[in-house]
């Protein structure tokens, strides 16, 4: 019996290791290839050497990346855009979900249904109308010491942030999570004199950590990976995010080592983000019954 159990455990462990290897290999290949010249990348392709940092290893590709692309600028832009979108997304979407989950408002089911319905509309179909709209919207600009009203958000940071703050899926996630928090807690807080905002801030949100972590990751990833929208609305190089930078490398003679080096650079923040929130993310996904 003990031996059978050991064998089963060993089998499970082996399966896990194989799955882990399959998941990690592309990343290892990218990191290793980023250190090799192009000829060697293709030369090693048909052997295990493709995954090993052997041969002519150097950081030349990384140096070349910074020569070809303002990578630091793109990274800073993406970090700023993603962080602000996440921070505002957490507050706006949780407040919306709180209202829909906790407050007794007539028609809230219809509103919630309408919000969920937007999930089936792909962004590509909205892109052009949205582009037209953002080009009509006003904005306040500093001109010396006076504020002036300008028209059009094209070629700005805000056009890469504001349209993506409100998010139907985040509202849904928060809503489902808030539904699992006993309403008696609200009533107890109300008896203690708390208003809606205090209940939101001091009772419900502190219990919704896993949902917040999930929303943070699910908002961060598309913001970080954003490609089509910045292409359409941003013309100045100094405002571009990292994903647009990847296309800088696809010239007639592609330098694959540089592609891998840039890929490695822009993957690191995503991996760090996931590792930081891993436990909460899995808890939230498990508790809300949502598969990624």
């Amino acid at each position: 019996m003990k031996n059978t159990l050991r064998l089963t455990n060993a089998g499970t462990m082996l399966a896990r290791i194989l799955l882990a290897i399959a998941a990690v290999f592309p990343i290892v290949f990218m990191l290793v290839s980023s250190l090799k010249p192009d000829t060697q990348i293709f030369g090693d392709m048909s052997s295990v050497a493709a995954f090993l940092p052997i041969g002519n290893i150097s950081v030349d590709n990384y140096t070349a990346v910074f020569d070809r692309v303002p990578a630091a600028r793109f990274l800073i832009n993406s970090i700023g855009i993603s962080a602000i979108t996440v921070a505002l997304g957490v507050v706006i979407n949780s407040m919306c979900a709180f209202g829909l989950s906790r407050m007794q408002v007539r028609g809230k089911r219809i509103v919630f249904g309408a919000i969920l319905a937007t999930l089936i509309v792909p962004f590509q179909t909205l892109a052009l109308p949205l582009l037209w709209w953002v080009n009509q919207l006003p904005w306040l600009e500093m001109n010396g010491f006076s504020l002036e009203l300008s028209k059009g958000w094209l070629d700005t940071y805000q056009v890469q942030i504001i349209p993506f703050i409100a998010n139907a899926f985040s509202i849904y996630l928060y809503h489902q999570y808030f539904e699992s928090i006993p309403k008696e807690l609200d009533e107890a807080a109300r008896i203690d004199g708390a208003g809606w905002f205090k209940i939101y801030r001091q009772v419900v949100m502190p219990l919704a950590g896993p949902a917040t972590a999930t929303v943070a990751i699910l908002t961060f990833l598309p913001a970080w990976n954003s490609y089509l929208w910045p292409l359409m609305v941003v013309q100045s190089e100094e405002l571009r995010p990292v994903m647009v930078g990847m296309q800088y490398f696809f010239q007639l003679n592609v330098s694959w080592g540089q592609v891998m080096a840039y890929g490695s650079l822009i993957t690191i923040p995503v991996v760090v983000m996931f590792i930081a929130f891993q436990r909460s993310f899995i808890n939230s996904i498990a508790s809300s019954g949502v598969k990624g």
Partner: protein
């Protein structure tokens, strides 16, 4: 825990404030066509192409020194450049000068993105494939062209007993097939020929429609550009498709080549590489004198290659189109054209510029490419329907390589093209 929530709220308020700040300091300087009359904006597809962008910037700097109106360059990545332009056109935000991939010029002219050019430059000495015309007007002009060719190692050809094809005597269809058979018999490569079959997008019509044309077919009937029927699905086209698929069936080429055909060729994974002039310098550096560059195959109607590369045009909404025209005229000086062609390793557009570049002057190592471009280049159909033609032809090529019936695949492409042309009123001006 409450502190945590407070922190999130504070962070969010800070974030909101940051957006406001970014709005003030993070505004780019994309000026629309109707922008500042003393500055015109120019868009190019060269972001990341350090050499070409540098050469363009040098021309702009030289122009700005002597002009009251300044040109400002904004570079976009090539892969997504067309999307950026179309989006800007939708928002009424096009710049004054744009660069355009040659075959798309008629479409952009028809869509009224581009205005006819009025330049002071004499374009008669330019390669015809570098001057884009539609309905009798010139809409764009380029500094360079590229040419398709076949590259091989002289030592491999000698070992297989295959003669080196020349401009005077390109390989015939029978010679080409014989060469492939002999090279395959050497047993050194899985596939002796690499035609870049993993390529996508514009590569498919650019690379493979010349073979179709050498068979006697075409992408469209060029008499009035209203139908592809009989040209894209006629007997010659079906024969071409059979021949092309046959190269894979006989084991001469892979139905899907490696991601980087040039690199595979340099790593000796293929004997003959079908590619463009852009790969020549890299291959010559790696192989030295062993590299031979040969014209493409004569499949019956002479060797053919696609004409037209990136070109420059002026948009219809440009508030200062005279300055834009002045800039383009300035930029077409032989020394400027030569500088761009040198930086990119491409074929200079004018004879004056070619004379300034040793590699392309008489007897130069790249002179043959200029000859290919002059003698073999056939413009991709100069019609606004070209984007749909290219797309449908590309799909047909991929279907044929995947094993689809050639006639059915070509009929399907023809039908889609004809339907599109009809639904757009024949793309009349």
């Amino acid at each position: 825990m409450n502190k945590k929530v407070s922190r999130v709220l504070v962070a969010s308020v800070t974030a909101a404030a940051l957006i406001g700040t970014l709005g003030a300091c993070g505004k780019g300087s994309a000026s629309a066509s109707s922008g500042d009359a003393n500055e015109i904006t120019m868009w190019t597809h060269n972001a990341g192409n350090v050499e070409e962008l540098g050469a363009i910037q040098n021309i702009v700097d030289a122009f700005n020194k002597e002009s009251d109106v300044k040109v400002k360059v904004q570079a976009f990545p090539q892969e997504s450049y067309n999307d950026s332009v179309v989006a800007a056109a939708s928002a009424g935000n096009l710049p004054c000068i744009v660069d355009i991939d040659g075959p798309n010029v008629p479409n952009w002219a028809w869509a009224q993105y581009l205005a006819p050019l009025k330049l002071t430059t004499d374009l008669s000495t330019h390669l015809p494939s570098t001057v884009a015309k539609w309905e009798g007007e010139t809409y764009a002009v380029g500094y360079y062209d590229v040419a398709l060719a076949m590259m091989a190692r002289a030592s491999d050809l000698k070992e297989a007993g295959v003669r080196v094809a020349t401009i005077e005597q390109p390989w015939t269809k029978a010679e080409f097939e014989d060469a492939m058979t002999k090279l395959k018999a050497l047993g050194k490569w899985d596939y002796p020929l690499d035609m870049g079959t993993a390529g996508t997008g514009e590569w498919l019509p650019y690379a493979y429609s010349p073979f179709l044309q050498s068979f006697g077919g075409d992408l469209i009937d060029r008499t009035d550009y209203q139908s592809a029927d009989g040209k894209l699905n006629g007997d010659a086209a079906v024969a071409w498709a059979g021949w092309f698929k046959g190269l894979a069936d006989q084991g001469f080429m892979a139905t899907k080549s490696g991601k980087d055909s040039t690199q595979d060729f340099l790593n000796n994974k293929s004997a003959v590489l079908y590619t463009g002039s852009w790969a020549a310098d890299k291959a010559r550096t790696a192989l030295g004198d062993d590299l031979v560059v040969m014209p493409t195959v004569d499949l019956g109607k002479g060797p053919k290659i696609g004409g037209a590369s990136w070109q420059w045009g002026v948009t219809t909404g440009c508030a200062n189109s005279q300055a834009a025209m002045d800039y383009l005229s300035f930029s077409l000086k032989p020394e400027n054209v030569a500088a761009v062609a040198t930086a990119t390793g491409t074929i200079p557009a004018s004879t004056g510029a070619a004379a300034l570049i040793p590699a392309f002057a008489e007897g130069g190592v790249n002179r043959d490419f200029l000859t290919y471009s002059r003698d073999y280049a056939l413009m991709r159909p100069e019609t606004p329907a070209y984007p749909i033609i290219a797309n449908e032809f590309g799909k047909a090529v991929q279907d044929i390589l995947a094993g689809a019936d050639a006639k059915s695949a070509l009929d399907k492409a023809t039908k889609s093209i004809d339907t599109n042309i009809k639904s757009n009123g024949g793309y009349k001006n």
